[in-house]
Amino acid sequence: ADDSDSVLKSEKEDVKKGAKKESSSVQKFAENIENLRTYQADFEQRVQNENGKEIDFSSGRFSIQRPNHFRWEVKLNFEQLIVADGDHVFTYDPELEQVTVQNQSKLLADSPLLLMTSDAEALAEAFNITTVDLADKPDSELFQLTPKKEGNIFDSVHILFEKNKIAELLMADTLGQKTSVKFSNIQVNQKLDSAQFSFVIPEGVDVIDSREVPLENGSE
């Protein structure tokens, strides 16, 4: 795939219909995402194995504050908190008494969460984005994102927008396992308390720092 440095540039140069469709899908997807300056919702996640049997259920709360902050808090069936503060992504598993710290920039294609806080350019670079036609649902748009780079644990991510709000994610891993995440109580562009996008590492947990440059100034 062409790794044009900007979506607009690729649109002008590339006249092939497919590419045109793709770049307009990228543009449309980026617009939808960029319209959500903040987003907050409850989620229910269901994992199905390749035979369609539900093997896992979890629920919790999800919020985004663009450009690059998000919070994914699993409350049911187990506890987990993922916070992206713009530089780092903290994953806290209370039961496992463990916090993992990673560079936010490195994770884009691996974490569907991050694609919702990325800009058009980063998205076009990491994913082939196409729109899926939903004839019967006028106010819905379905996008399919397939990672361009190898070594990704997901084959594809589908994102459904209803009335310009993210309503559902559907992720397929490379072994036929499917995960559906449905959102409810969705609030868009409300003022959010920015404290929810910072994370202080609690006492007594194993800290696994998989960034290249370790935490310079210790935990804020």
Partner: protein, 177 residues
């Protein structure tokens, strides 16, 4: 999960060692020199057959190891699927992991596996506390009652190339017929 204890057919509670048809769900943290992952483990066992499935946030499979009769299958991300008669050999050949999955099926219940070279110690209540085997250092803690049996909720297993921390969420013993 079942609260009544499986019986040994004579009305008495079946001993934990003999219960070989079970399902468990756990949270696991896996640490290798390259990466650290926290995930969900679904592990089903029926005598020598088992299904050992580790998947991460958003349900993406990290590793899925199945032993059925004399065929072991290991599924890894990006459609990498490997086969062998024996699961432990398969893990070693495919991932270079010296992972004693059979011994782990005893440790997970808070029982020594009885394999040669294994050494262990018990706490004052007689519960398995620490164990060493083939380069693995295993610690057992937070004993609580699952399905009528007192078993560890947390198991930490350390090996030079692999660290594993398991927190059990749910145990279910299934009828043996």
């Amino acid at each position: 999960c079942q609260t009544n204890r499986p019986t040994n057919g004579l009305g008495g509670p079946a001993s934990l060692e003999t219960l070989n048809h079970w399902e468990l769900k756990a949270r696991v943290a896996i640490k290798t020199p390259e990466e650290s992952v926290s995930a969900t483990l679904d592990w089903q066992k029926k005598d020598s057959d088992f299904d050992f499935h580790i998947y991460g946030l958003f349900g993406a499979t990290y590793a899925h190891l199945i032993q059925k009769g004399h065929e072991a299958t290991l599924k890894l991300p990006e459609d990498r699927v490997h086969y062998h008669q024996d699961a432990e050999q398969l893990l070693y050949q495919s991932l270079g992991w010296d992972f004693p999955i059979d011994a782990l099926s005893f440790w997970i219940k808070g029982l020594p596996s009885g394999k040669s070279g294994e050494q262990f110690s018990r706490n004052d209540e007689g519960e398995l506390q620490q164990l060493t085997f083939n380069g693995w250092q295993v610690n057992f803690s937070r004993y609580q009652t699952f399905s009528g049996y007192s078993m560890p909720k947390m198991i930490k297993a350390k090996h030079p190339q692999l660290g594993l921390k398991v927190v059990i969420k749910d145990w279910e013993f299934l009828p043996t017929n």
